[in-house]
Subunit: 145 residues, 2 copies
């Protein structure tokens, strides 16, 4: 197996860069969450609830993990008063997890702090951000989110 076509090198390069960006972003996300005494997983669940209450099952599917895992995370969020569990009137097996006022505030705050502290983005001008946005959009449409 010899050298590979140039396109592969370019792809590899972009993948490595994205890995770096992902690591950086991830670290800052954890830090921002920790600053509000939330863990990353808890913050992710809270972020999911921004659009409204959601069955535990749906949370587990979105985060690609076992439902039993969500039980624990929601337990801790509930203990801190960030979410509530309500029975779904349509199907009493289902528990709808909803963010409380405090939960929504924490989540919104965290999101704002991310927008603000995102240093790497500051290196780009407005046109470049626009280009980046378009490229990212292209990459993410069709992906399972």
């Amino acid at each position: 197996m010899e050298t590979q076509p140039a396109t592969d090198d370019l792809t590899r390069e972009v993948v490595d860069l994205m890995a770096g960006l992902v690591a950086l972003f991830h670290r800052e996300y954890e830090e921002a969450a920790a600053a509000r005494s939330l863990t990353g997983a808890q913050a992710k669940v809270l972020a999911l609830l921004r659009r409204g209450p959601m069955p535990m099952r749906h949370i587990a599917q979105t985060l690609s993990c076992e439902p039993s895992n969500i039980t624990g995370i929601v337990d801790r969020l509930e203990l801190r008063g960030f979410v509530t569990r309500e029975a779904d009137p349509q199907d009493r097996r289902v528990k709808l997890v909803a963010a409380t006022e405090a939960g929504q505030d924490a989540s919104a705050e965290l999101r704002e702090s991310l927008n603000f502290a995102r240093e790497p983005l500051a290196a780009l001008g407005e046109d470049e951000r626009r280009t980046l946005r378009d490229l990212l959009q292209r990459m993410l449409t069709g992906a399972t989110l």
Copy 2:
């Protein structure tokens, strides 16, 4: 951090997109690691060792975590024969962690599988990838990696 103007919609949009990309990338990375019976943390350490042996302390700093954490991760990697701990002749307090043949193979394999499976990137043409690479490079230079 300097004062910034009110968060503009464009920045917020890009941040949200990056969050999506990060989630996607992260999930696939974990899956690729799991397929080789490695955890994400173990894969990260192995990836770090691609350039050569490294003191535990340096690993901890790079991954932004406590040294005692690295002890456990390296323990498990060592148990599986993916790394070795060697005493540094220069400073006998230091333990140099080095990837074994098997460790390097596993790490290289994982990296290749990432290049290959990176579906989102397939949505972009070569020119666009080049543009993306340049933008990412700009964002990452100066960042602590």
